[in-house]
Symmetry: C2
Subunit: 191 residues, 2 copies
DNA sequence: TTGACGACTGACTGATTAGTAAGTAAGATC
DNA sequence: GATCTTACTTACTAATCAGTCAGTCGTCAA
């Protein structure tokens, strides 16, 4: 049985992404990552020259993953409500897996204290998410599945901000608070 | 003319609060505060033994300030919509004053990487805010001023999370996005 | 006039941070 | 079999971090 070759680069990205969502970008170090993987500090620098490079790589990988997720969902699921529930599920998974918050949220909260190179990626990420939500809400309302006042882009801001904000509030006030917010969003948008 | 005595303790709290909202708790140091005030590192330690103590003091002062604000509003204003708009104004002021986010939001985002002593205060803060909002929404709906499905506490989660999340999104996507979210909340709740 | 006290300063410490430079061992390529 | 490349390690640097401690200076009460 051949040993599976270790993919250190991917493991670094995994560890950095997890720590970003758990503790924030300013609260983990190369040393933390190296310790977690059982390698040395310099090994992390070998794969990512600077922490800013690592940060950008984490965000860009997350954006690609979301794009693939959206593409797959588009092919498999036509019902707007089930699509929205699939989006909710991303956030529910974060909550369950160690009280993580969404990458977009932590990057915005630390926006003025993260390296400048990361800000463009962080901005692109929230635009991705909002554009996807806006399109879903527009199509869903046309089909009579959703009901809300104003423009789809306006409602997308409320839905996106609620998911992001409620995940954070759940940390300090209890995970069940997130479910409360989710259920209220459903109630608001049911025709 | 007598010189106004300097209130260093208050100035430290002001600087720490501003930096917390601008950069996050993990992204400012005693040195940053000292430099801003033109004093030495040790002067900050004289007033606040540890950074955790300073953090707790910032949060507790903010809670007292909110309680006084709520008390004053209760005495001066009876109309539920105008009360809600006054609450919105707190967040609008944050946005305008250098792209700050609400203290509650950054503390929850960094929840797992701030000193343990601060977490109880951070939790108490979000409970304060949510309880105030819940009471306002309950009274306002009884009077026919607001309209929303579900329980007042559920709607308070959506309103609170939207304000918190939208302030963060506004950083990465443009301040006008916050106004969009605000207007959508108004549309949703108008009878 | 003294002496206690509040509000500091100057000069540290030890830990942690991102980042670097030189060396090495294993495998692929010629 | 020599050479190159990949993926590291060991050993370090300079900066920054929270925190400490002994001393100083001005004010005020006795």
């Amino acid at each position: 049985m051949a040993a599976v070759p270790r993919d250190t680069r991917r493991e670094i990205l995994d560890a950095a992404e997890a720590m970003l969502q758990e503790r924030g970008f300013n609260a983990f170090s190369y040393h933390h990552i190296a310790e977690r993987l059982g390698v040395r500090n310099a090994a992390v620098h070998y794969h990512f020259r600077s922490k800013a490079d690592l940060g950008v790589a984490v965000i860009e990988r997350y954006r690609r993953r979301f794009a693939r997720w959206a593409e797959k969902l588009e092919a498999e699921e036509k019902d707007p409500w089930r699509k929205l529930e699939a989006f909710f599920q991303i956030y529910l998974d974060f909550k369950i897996r160690g009280g993580k918050i969404c990458p977009s949220g932590i990057l915005q909260a630390e926006y003025h204290s993260i390296p400048e190179e990361m800000r463009a990626s962080a901005s692109a990420l929230i635009v991705d998410l909002q554009q996807w939500l806006t399109r879903l809400l527009a199509e869903g309302r046309e089909q009579g599945a959703f009901q809300f006042p104003g423009e789809p882009a306006d409602q997308a801001m409320v839905v996106g901000a609620t998911l992001q904000g409620a995940l954070q509030i759940a940390r300090a006030w209890g995970p069940e608070r997130f479910d409360t917010a989710l259920e209220q969003l459903r109630r608001q948008m049911r025709p």
